[in-house]
């Protein structure tokens, strides 16, 4: 299966230079079978979406060394069960309920400014939920900052409970530098370093 790997951010995505020459295995996050990765092999996950986060978490749980290359962080919210536990979950649940409520009353006439203000509320609540989620699991201020999405970011939030915990524990290493290229043996980041890898997992 051919995998098209891209990197980049809001200003445009671009193909990852050199990925066709990579000597290890390249796989889309959704197609990864964790048991195919041998213990001791180094796995690099490039780009973050729901499938990549799920793959990274599964790999760490299976005892693998994982580096996540995420230079343009996305909002990650806690998974909310039937009853939300904690402030972050509560905020995330409220954001969802507010969005549904606003849809239900969309037909009610209201001035444009009010509509715009109300329309922003779910997103503001989600960002608040994300901030609480990060504060709860990430002790390091710099990690927290590097995983905070831009206030101009409008992508759909991701859901996960373990990702931040794993980054905080160091079992999942966060590389927040932009990816420059892929070499035969690993990934070069723009801080001038080369990260050796046996597997590259890319966002589909």
């Amino acid at each position: 299966m051919a995998t098209i790997a891209t990197t980049g951010s809001a200003s445009g995505r671009r193909a990852l230079d050199g990925i066709v020459d990579f000597a290890g295995r390249v796989v889309g996050a959704a197609d990864l079978v964790v048991s195919d990765v041998e213990i001791g092999q180094r796995v690099a996950c490039i780009g973050v979406d729901q499938a990549t986060i799920d793959a990274a978490v599964s790999l760490v749980e299976a005892g693998h060394r994982v580096k996540v290359f995420e230079d343009d962080p996305r909002l990650v919210l806690p998974r909310v069960g039937l009853i939300p536990f904690g402030r972050a979950s509560l905020c995330a649940r409220l954001a969802g309920s507010t969005r549904l409520g606003l849809r239900a009353v969309a037909f009610v006439p209201a001035p444009g400014a009010v509509r715009r203000r109300l329309g922003r509320m779910p997103s503001v609540m989600e960002h608040r939920a994300g901030s609480l989620h990060r504060r709860r699991h990430l002790d390091d201020r710099w990690d927290r900052r590097q995983l905070t999405p831009s206030r101009f970011d409008r992508r759909t939030p991701l859901r996960d409970d373990s990702y931040y915990r794993m980054v905080d524990a160091g079992s999942c290493e966060l590389i927040s530098w932009p990816v420059a290229s892929v070499t035969t043996s690993g990934i070069r980041t723009c801080d001038g370093l080369e990260h050796r890898a046996d597997w590259i997992v890319v966002a589909p």
Partner: protein, 306 residues
């Protein structure tokens, strides 16, 4: 002159280099004389740490820029400044100036600047940081790095700093472009930015953090044999940009920084009495009173492959 940011971003993508591209064991390392070594070690340590402090400022700018292309450029510049710091540390290792592979301890003035930046950089308006960065870049690029290339006989030094200078020239081009763009902001935006700065505690602590940093850097380069005037000539370039571009002169942060630059360049200005005194006091500042350094400091490494 308007800069096409998308084309600049493409050039940045195309011209990436890595530490692994450089042959760190190439001949020439022994051309550092015993006389040069101690002063050069202190100077290189300062340059590497200042690059890393600059990287932190670019990280803050990346969060401030509304234009996604500019935000991307700043994100790359953040990484590139880190690369420069890493490359300079790798040069120090080549010249046998490191204790093992550990980075040198930053001077106390740099530690204070790190703490200040880590605390306030993300809360400063783009107009302030976006104006301060080009001033520091002209000094670093126009005087310090050129001086190093002229003074050091090791051919690898020239190779590395040519790559660094190429990156820095793009940082400067974007920096001057941003100065111009900020200058075009309406008056009320300038007023809001000024109010934000004046109401921020950052302003009261900026001079005590900046003065020892500049004075210590100046003393180290002068100790190495750099003519102070070259440093001040480089700073004058910052002044000339405003003379060429009327929009830049409308940027209040630029005007304040330009005056600050003139003050620094004038050796008979009372600023230097205060700066020298601040440096002497800071030299005696007990290190145990410093809070633990932010974790981005640990990103400095001379290892090309990890």
């Amino acid at each position: 002159m308007t800069l096409d940011l998308s084309k600049t971003l493409d050039r940045v993508h195309e011209r990436q280099w890595a530490l692994a591209d450089v042959d760190w064991d190439a001949p020439g390392a022994d051309r550092i004389t015993d006389e040069q070594r101690p002063k050069l070690a202190a100077f290189m340590a300062d340059v590497a740490w200042i690059e890393q402090v600059g990287a932190r400022a670019f990280a803050a700018l990346a969060r401030k820029a509304e234009d996604p292309v500019l935000a991307d450029l700043y994100r790359y510049f953040h990484a590139e400044e880190q690369r420069h710091a890493n490359a300079e540390l790798a040069l120090m290792r080549r010249w046998d100036m490191l204790d093992g592979d550990e980075p040198p301890e930053p001077h106390i003035s740099i530690r204070l600047a790190m703490d200040w930046l880590d605390r306030y950089a993300d809360s400063l308006p783009l107009a302030v940081l976006g104006s301060a960065i080009p001033m520091l870049e002209v000094a670093l690029d126009g005087a310090l790095l050129k001086f190093l290339v002229d003074e050091i006989d090791d051919p690898l030094c020239a190779v590395v700093f040519e790559k660094v200078n190429n990156d820095e020239s793009r940082h400067l081009a974007v920096g001057f472009h941003v100065l111009e763009v900020i200058g075009r902001n309406p008056a009320h935006r300038h007023a809001i930015d000024i109010a934000k700065v004046l109401l921020s505690p950052a302003i009261f602590t900026s001079l005590p953090a900046a003065m020892p940093l500049f004075t210590n850097a100046r003393d180290n380069v002068v100790g190495m044999g750099l003519d102070e005037r070259k440093l001040y000539d480089a700073l004058a370039r910052f002044d000339k940009v405003g003379q060429r571009q009327p929009d830049v002169r409308r940027n209040p942060s630029y005007l304040v920084l330009k005056e600050f630059g003139k003050m620094v360049a004038n050796r008979s200005h009372p600023y230097h009495v205060l700066g020298d005194a601040a440096t002497r006091i800071v030299d005696h500042y007990p290190r145990r009173l410093l809070k633990s350094p932010p974790s981005w400091v640990d990103q400095l490494t001379a290892e090309p492959v990890v």
